[in-house]
């Protein structure tokens, strides 16, 4: 692996890591398996594409994407809490709906963003080369997100969301409306995913309606790899672990792509299979370990 590939994996790991922190919020904190993310990542990208091509400031485009993601998450959560649709199904419905919505937003399946201003421009104007500028921005944004999410989970509201996922009967009898907490939590999660989508689109110079395929699996892989490597004893540790897990996951992919076994070589289209197998192993390892011990 070249240094260039390592740097690329770090860059990708950080920007997708923001998405993975969002997945952590739903999957681990709220115990709400949320597939909306496959639609809200391209939603962030689509909103950004529309905003940037309309000449809106790229930083405002980030804010608009965050708002869009939050709304998408809210829709899923409202379907689940108020209308009693199973959480998994609710999120699939929102995801499917977002496919059409994203194409409407972009007025087509994809938009090129090569000739527009992006959030990396201020750094590039300072003389920092393009690929480093994006890494610097991603480090900055990821650090802000980690600090922000950790802080939030220690506030009254954040603790109530934590308790909602852990013991909804307990927190209800403390006077918290768990529906509101789920709507807020899933909204926040998707806001982060859309932010990630916006940054990815600005970085790769294009927004594509299909860029969200497999987001949830990549997010889960990052969460689980992070937990295995760094542990999840405390909240700050768990969230840093998710980010680290995302970077490790991208490194692993970069390595897998270079893999050659005689005639056979791994192609990018094999990635989803590799990721799915990785997640299955990580999810089932504890159960299998137990069974082996018993027999």
């Amino acid at each position: 692996m070249t240094w260039y590939a390592v740097l690329g994996a770090l860059e990708q790991g950080l920007v997708y890591g923001i998405m993975a922190v969002g997945v952590y919020l739903t999957f681990r904190i709220l115990d709400f398996p949320d597939l909306t993310v496959d639609g809200s990542l391209p939603l962030g990208a689509s909103i950004t594409a529309l905003a940037l091509t309309s000449g809106i400031n790229p930083f405002i485009a980030l804010v608009l994407s965050i708002a869009g993601g939050f709304l998408a998450g809210m829709v899923t959560a409202i379907l689940n809490t108020k209308l009693k649709v199973l959480h998994l199904l609710a999120s699939i419905l929102t995801m499917i709906a977002l496919y059409s919505i994203n194409i409407r937003i972009m007025d087509g399946p994809n938009v090129s963003l090569l000739a527009v201003d992006t959030v990396f421009d201020p750094l590039i104007e300072l003389g920092i080369p393009g690929h480093l500028a994006s890494t610097v921005v991603f480090i900055g944004v990821a650090a802000l997100i980690v600090i922000g999410v950790v802080w939030f989970l220690y506030t009254e509201l954040g603790m109530s969301i934590l308790a909602t996922g852990d013991n909804s009967q307990m927190i209800t009898s403390q006077g918290v409306n768990t529906h509101t907490m789920i709507i807020l939590g899933v909204g926040l999660s998707n806001a982060l995913v859309a932010l990630s989508g916006s940054l990815i689109a600005q970085n790769q110079g294009a927004s594509d309606v299909n860029m969200g395929v497999g987001t949830i699996v990549a997010g889960l892989a990052s969460v689980i790899v992070g937990e295995t490597v760094l542990g999840d004893k405390t909240i700050p540790r768990a969230i840093i672990a998710v980010l680290a897990g995302s970077v490790i996951y991208r490194l692993a992919i970069a390595m897998a792509l270079g893999l050659e076994l005689g005639e056979f070589s791994v192609s990018p289209s094999d990635l989803n299979l590799i990721t799915a197998i990785l997640v299955v192993i990580a999810l089932t390892a504890p159960t299998i370990k137990k069974k082996l011990k018993l027999s």
Partner: protein, 264 residues
Amino acid sequence: MITISNLIKYFHKGSVNEILALDGISLEVKDGDFITVIGSNGAGKSTLLNCIAGTYAIDSGSIKASGQDITVWPEYKRAKLIARVFQDPLLGTCASASIEQNLALAYKRGQKRGLAFGVKSRDRGFFRQELKQLGLGLEDRLLDTAGLLSGGQRQALTMLMATLIRPDILLLDEHVAALDPKTAHQVLELTREIVKQKKLTTLMVTHQMKHALQLGNRLMMLHRGKIILDVRDEEKGKLEVKDLLAKFYEVQGEELSNDKMLLA
């Protein structure tokens, strides 16, 4: 104060499994009443508590508490007035949160929650002092997660959390049934202490007739969704286990003879 009138609660209404769990319960609980509720399995004791707390929606009747009609209030809104301790020690506390976080969550019962830090440093002294009353050494373990505690410790913590802010009504649903006898005794003593000290209006469901007789100033027996015995103060003081058993057999005997009639 709670006023319940003609409360009816069905389970699986309209299906073959339809059960009439509460059959027109009317009940007046005065401020400061400590009522122990007994009855055989399926008598409706826990259902009654769950209906008061708002976990179950009722089919008809009305519930008033502290001068407000709370019949259609959702459970979380009733938490402003009502605090609970459950039979399952795991239900009352948040396992992944620390002891102080659990207390902080309870210290905001029924109030708006915002973006201030959940655990305020100014409250820690108060939490320690309250935990000290439990005599379990939890005051030195504020940062331990509740999941590390034993069932008895968690139940004691839940008891403290329920009364950290004085509730208008305290509901105890067989809260010592899942504990070993020694721990059960400790938690029961703690209950007596806290209820007396804070003069709480309390409903306590129990399977143990002994506990029902030892605690409280009023005793109720439920059978098939109806209140079949309701005694208070001096009259309750005179009750003994054998009186309660006699009452049990009386109603169960009725059932038996009814069955015989059916079969004949």
